[in-house]
Subunit: 246 residues, 2 copies
C-alpha cells in the first residue's frame, strides 16, 4: 500500500506559449492528482509541432506511470495530437468505429453536415480506448499509459472526471501548514536544522512578499501523520523562540 | 534580420505541482518574449529535486537560445536551484563577492543578522553574472545561456525587466485575428484549404465554448504582413460564404 504512483502532464498549444491563453489545465490536474494520491512530477508545454509532441510524449511515458495531455484534438488542421500520439507509439491512425458511432448520429440529429473536419475528431491511434465525457461529444482517448484530452478547460475537466475511476491511487501525501510572521532569512537556519532532524518529511518554505515585507508559509509533507506532526511542533517552537528574540 | 531566436522556461517548485500555487511566471514570460520577437518553444515545471532540475536545464540549454528559470533561489534549505545549475554546468559554487557586497550592507543598515541562510542567497555558480533588480536585494544570475530568477512573481518580473536590454531580439511574429461565429466543425474543411494555400502563415484555430455553443477565434501568425493579410482576407471570405449557407 505504500506504492508511489507518478504522473506528468503535457499541455499542447501555440497559444499557451505566446501568452495569448493562460493554461488552466496543469493547475486543475495538479490538485486532482494530489487528492488521488498520485505524485505529479513534471509538467510540460509544447507547441502544435509534431516532432515536439512525439519527443515529449515518449520521454514522459517512459519515465512516469501516467501521462496526461491537453489540447489539439479538435476538428481543425492545427489539431495534430492524435497523429503525433500514433507516431509516438508507432501505430496507425484510423477513423474509430466507436467514435464514429457517437459523432454521426449526433450531427444527424441536429441536421448538421458530418464534415471531413468533424470526422477528424474520430481519428484515433490503433489500440486506443475512448474517454467519453458529458460535455463534449468528441471523445478523448487513452493508449498505453497516455491519456489524451481536450484543451478547453470545461471539457478537460469532464474527461478527467470520466477517467478517474480507472486510475490506480497511491498513498496520499499529507500536507500540514504553519504560517511564519518572519521572512525566510530569519527562519532559514533553524529550518535547515529541523529538516535534517525530520528526514521522513519534506519541509517546504514559501515566501510571501506584499511589496514591503516578507512573511513565510511552511508546508510539511509526509506519508506519516506522526512524522508531520513532530516536524510542525518543532517549527512552532522555533517561531516561539524567534519571537522572543525579535 | 530574419533570425529566429528561441527560448524555454523552467519553473521550479513542488508547490506548482501539488496544485497549491498556480504558476504565473510562464504566462508573463510568454507575453514578454512575444513582444521581444523571441519564440518561446517550451515550458517545463519540475519539483525541488536536484536530478530533475539538472536534467531539464541541460536538455533545454542545448536545444534553445535562451533558458529562463524561476524559483528556488531563496535562503532556505529547499532552495537548491543555484546548486543544481552549478552541477548542470560542471562548475563550483561559492559565495560571490559582488552578491555579498550587496547583501551585507543591506542587512547591516537594518540591524538584521546576516545569517547563514541569508548568505546562501549570495552563493552563485562560478562564472555567473548577476541579475540585479529593484524589488529584491538578492540577485538572480545568468551563466551561459541560462537566466536564473526568483519564483515570487513581482521579483521574477523585475528581474526580467532588468535583463531585457541584454537579450538579442528576433523578427517579431505578427498576429492578426478574426472571429468566427461558427464552431470548428463548420469551418475546419475550409480552413485546411486556406492553410495549404498560405504556407507563409500559421493559422491557429481556438474554440470557445460557453457551455452550450461553440464559436472560434482564428489567429494568423506570420513574419510577413502581406502574407498575414492575404490569409485573413481568404478566411473572411470563407465565413461570408458559410453565412449564406447556414
Amino acid at each position: 500500500m505504500s506504492e508511489i504512483v507518478t504522473a506528468a502532464i503535457l499541455a499542447i498549444g501555440d497559444e499557451l506559449l505566446s501568452g495569448r491563453t493562460k493554461d488552466k489545465n496543469i493547475a486543475y490536474l495538479a490538485s486532482f492528482l494530489t487528492l488521488k494520491g498520485i505524485d505529479l512530477k513534471e509538467a510540460r508545454i509544447v507547441s502544435d509541432d509534431q516532432d515536439a509532441i512525439v519527443k515529449a510524449v515518449n520521454e514522459l511515458r517512459s519515465e512516469y506511470d501516467y501521462v496526461f495531455t491537453s489540447g489539439g484534438i479538435g476538428p481543425t488542421h492545427d489539431d495534430i495530437t492524435a497523429d503525433a500520439i500514433a507516431v509516438a507509439f508507432g501505430v496507425g491512425i484510423n477513423h474509430d468505429p466507436r467514435a464514429m458511432a457517437i459523432l454521426e448520429p449526433h450531427y444527424k440529429a441536429r441536421d448538421m453536415e458530418f464534415t471531413t473536419a468533424r470526422k477528424r475528431m474520430a481519428r484515433l491511434p490503433d489500440g486506443s480506448e475512448l474517454i467519453e465525457n458529458k460535455v463534449s461529444m468528441a471523445p478523448g482517448f487513452h493508449i498505453g499509459n497516455v491519456y489524451v484530452m481536450a484543451g478547453v478547460p470545461a471539457i478537460f475537466q469532464a474527461m478527467v472526471d470520466a477517467l478517474a475511476p480507472g486510475l490506480k491511487s497511491g498513498v496520499q501525501l499529507l500536507t500540514k501548514s504553519i504560517d511564519s510572521p518572519f521572512g525566510e532569512g530569519t527562519i532559514g537556519d533553524g529550518l535547515t536544522t529541523i529538516q535534517k532532524a525530520h528526514p521522513e518529511t519534506a519541509i517546504g518554505s514559501y515566501p510571501r512578499f506584499d511589496g514591503e515585507n516578507y512573511t513565510t508559509q511552511i508546508l510539511v509533507r509526509s506519508r506519516s501523520e506522526d512524522a508531520a506532526d513532530a516536524a510542525i511542533a518543532a517549527i512552532a517552537q522555533l517561531f516561539e523562540e524567534l519571537g522572543k528574540k525579535n
